[in-house]
């Protein structure tokens, strides 16, 4: 399903935070929870809706990588082109978004 123009304008602050977190490199559910401080009951349903609207895309980690680190494989999320465009417009709408989750700081982590 392609996102309509209204969905860009109506993206909630929570959804925008999640997009920002993914863009900052927090790419699986628990890391997004940790970064945003949102509970699991908010983060995961929001990610389902963002994925339904083709703003993010999910991909399973390779089993070999997970085996090397002795943990179960993670499901990683990344922004789509539409998601990136939506995040750009959301940053204009929520100017504090970048300060809440600064990309440079996140990448340094």
């Amino acid at each position: 399903m392609a996102p309509d123009r209204n969905s860009e304008a109506k993206l909630s602050h929570t959804a925008a935070m999640i997009l920002q977190a993914i863009d900052a490199g927090f790419v699986y559910g628990f890391s997004i929870m940790e970064m945003t401080g949102l509970p699991s009951g908010t983060v995961y349903p929001a990610m389902r809706r963002l994925e339904r609207d083709d703003l993010i895309r999910s991909q399973w980690e390779r089993q070999s990588i997970a085996d090397d680190e002795q943990r179960p494989p993670r499901k990683y999320y990344k922004l789509t082109a539409a998601g990136r465009a939506t995040l750009q417009s959301s940053r204009k709408r929520y100017p504090l978004l970048e300060r809440l989750i600064p990309i440079e700081e996140a990448r340094s982590l």
Binding site: F30, S40, G41, T42, Y44, R49, K75
Partner: protein, 522 residues
């Protein structure tokens, strides 16, 4: 005395380990329960993701390696979020299914299948209620015990004093002679007999006095009464006469034993084998009978007086216009006898007779309440293929075929629903209810058929008012109804005129198809 320190620490460690294990099981259990909400196609992936995330959470919360209730609470809180996620997926799944479900639901509404399903459910419900009513069950069992039609009891009309019996000699003479109006005779006479029951193990039981009808061997076959537990075993002595018990005697004396057939009894001086039990029906023959001793005519006591039952031939039935008819006969010594033939059969009409009569009346009265035309003249039949026409008439036939048993069973439900009513009141209620259900049911069937698209049998809908009433004589006005399959439009005039008196069908050509995108247009 305090336990040593190392023992206390070991017990504590064991308790912590147990608590941790049980909490892990609880967390996984929460996830499992939540997963039940997730659509089946996505459940495995959902479980995998939450299981992996739980591992991350557990590692983050318990990195110190010590047991902490606050950490376990956080993990439980994380697992509780799975319910919100699962509910979200369930809702998304339902939203994605709805666009496909809507057309199929709208396709079913108003279709021929919906109509047939409605009638079928109505029929099933009325039949189920009829099965539950004790009055209906009793009526059914009685109807199975009716004697065959065309039977008469022949009595001596000269003998005013009761009983008006016939001699066995005269019976034999009638039987031996070729008859024009009768094709079968049976004879019986009722006597009080002393009967001894005997079994191989226990010997003879005490004797009892039974009302025994000594009847000709063809008695039950002539009456057409079914005999239960009929003994067909070849080991039964063929020379021994057989005894058929009445149902009341079978229950009273034999405790309703289903293995009674084959038992030997001594009737008077003769031994006889019990070969079955006669049903308890509306017994109309004279004499109180507990058992029938069937014996061949050759063993019949000469000169005995009894009753004769005869079966009429086709010409005999045509002569039998009333329930009683005088019969002239000649005795063996050629003297004329005045006899009386009394028709045997149920005095009150059965449910089936009432039903047939009510349906006949309803079909007679139908033109008074509705037009029996289906408006075929307004349908340009070249538009409809032969299979479609057959389907249309078949649909009408199935509707009528379902309506008639519905009327029958609903009338039975109404008639026998109140146990306080007597037989005549029940018959009256059955008659009236069957009549009205058939009359107005047929009216509905015909009006429903007239409002169905001749192509797809879907009910036309979405009425639109067209034209103005003030311009009736200049331009037509009325209501237009549309087939949702996109096949036709039905014009119904508001005021029938000489040029537009009946509803007309307008068949839509394929150029209209774009209006019905996603519909059932073939």
């Amino acid at each position: 005395m305090k336990p040593p320190l190392h023992i206390a620490a070991g017990a504590m460690g064991l308790a912590v380990r147990l608590a941790r294990l049980s909490l892990r099981a609880l967390h996984l259990g929460l996830l499992r329960v939540a997963s039940l909400l997730v659509p089946g196609s996505r459940r495995a992936e959902w479980w995998r993701e939450w299981h992996a995330e739980l591992w991350q959470v557990r590692r983050a919360c318990a990195y110190t390696g010590e047991f902490c209730w606050a950490s376990e609470g956080e993990i439980a809180g994380f697992c509780m979020g799975a319910f919100q996620d699962a509910f979200c997926l369930w809702r998304l799944g339902r939203q994605s299914r709805e666009p496909q479900a809507m057309p199929s639901r709208s396709m079913f509404m108003g279709s021929a299948w919906q109509c047939l399903l409605f009638l079928g459910v109505l029929l099933g419900a009325s039949y189920a209620i009829a099965l539950l009513l004790p009055g209906v069950r009793a009526e059914r069992s009685l109807s199975q015990c009716l004697v065959r039609p065309g039977l008469v009891l022949i009595e001596d009309a000269d003998n005013e004093d009761s009983p008006r019996t016939i001699s066995s000699g005269q019976y034999r003479a009638w039987k031996d002679r070729k008859q024009e109006f009768f094709d079968g005779f049976a004879f019986y006479r009722v006597t009080q007999e002393s009967v001894d029951r005997e079994t191989a193990q226990e010997g003879s039981h005490g004797s009892a006095g039974w009302g025994v009808a000594r009847a000709s061997s063809n008695f039950f076959s002539l009456l057409g009464l079914p005999v239960r537990f009929r003994e067909t075993d070849a080991s039964v002595d063929a020379d021994m006469p057989s005894v058929i018990l009445s149902e009341s005697l079978w229950k009273r004396e034999f405790g309703a034993n289903p293995h009674v057939a084959g038992s030997v009894v001594r009737v008077g001086l003769r031994r006889a084998t019990i070969t079955g039990v006669a049903p308890q029906g509306p017994w109309q023959l004279p004499g109180k009978v507990d058992a029938w001793l069937l014996e061949p005519d050759s063993q019949m006591v000469p000169g005995g007086e009894g009753y004769v039952v005869a079966h009429l031939t086709a010409s005999g039935k045509s002569r039998m216009r009333t329930a009683r008819i005088p019969i002239k006969s000649f005795s063996p010594n050629r003297s004329p006898d005045d006899l009386l033939g009394i028709a045997l059969g149920n005095g009150t009409p059965g449910p089936w007779d009432v039903f047939r009569f009510a349906v006949f009346l309803a079909f007679l009265a139908l033109p008074a309440v509705t037009s029996v035309s289906l408006g075929e003249s307004s349908v340009s039949l070249h538009e409809i293929s032969w299979p479609r026409r057959i389907c249309r008439w078949g649909f009408l036939g199935v509707k009528i075929a379902l309506l008639l048993p519905i009327a029958h069973f609903v009338s039975l439900d109404l008639g026998y629903g109140c146990t306080a009513l007597n037989t005549n009141q029940v018959v009256y209620i059955e008659l009236v209810s069957t009549f009205f259900i058939c009359l107005f049911g047929m009216r509905w069937v015909l009006s429903d058929q007239r409002r169905r698209c001749p192509v797809c049998l879907r009910r036309v809908d979405h009425p639109a008012r067209v034209g103005q009433l003030s311009r009736t004589f200049l331009a037509w006005n009325g209501i237009e109804l549309m087939c949702m399959g996109g096949h036709s439009l039905l014009h119904v005039p508001s005021l029938p005129t000489s040029w537009f008196s009946t509803p007309r069908w307008l068949f839509l050509d394929p150029s209209w198809k774009f209006l019905f995108a996603g519909s059932a247009r073939e």
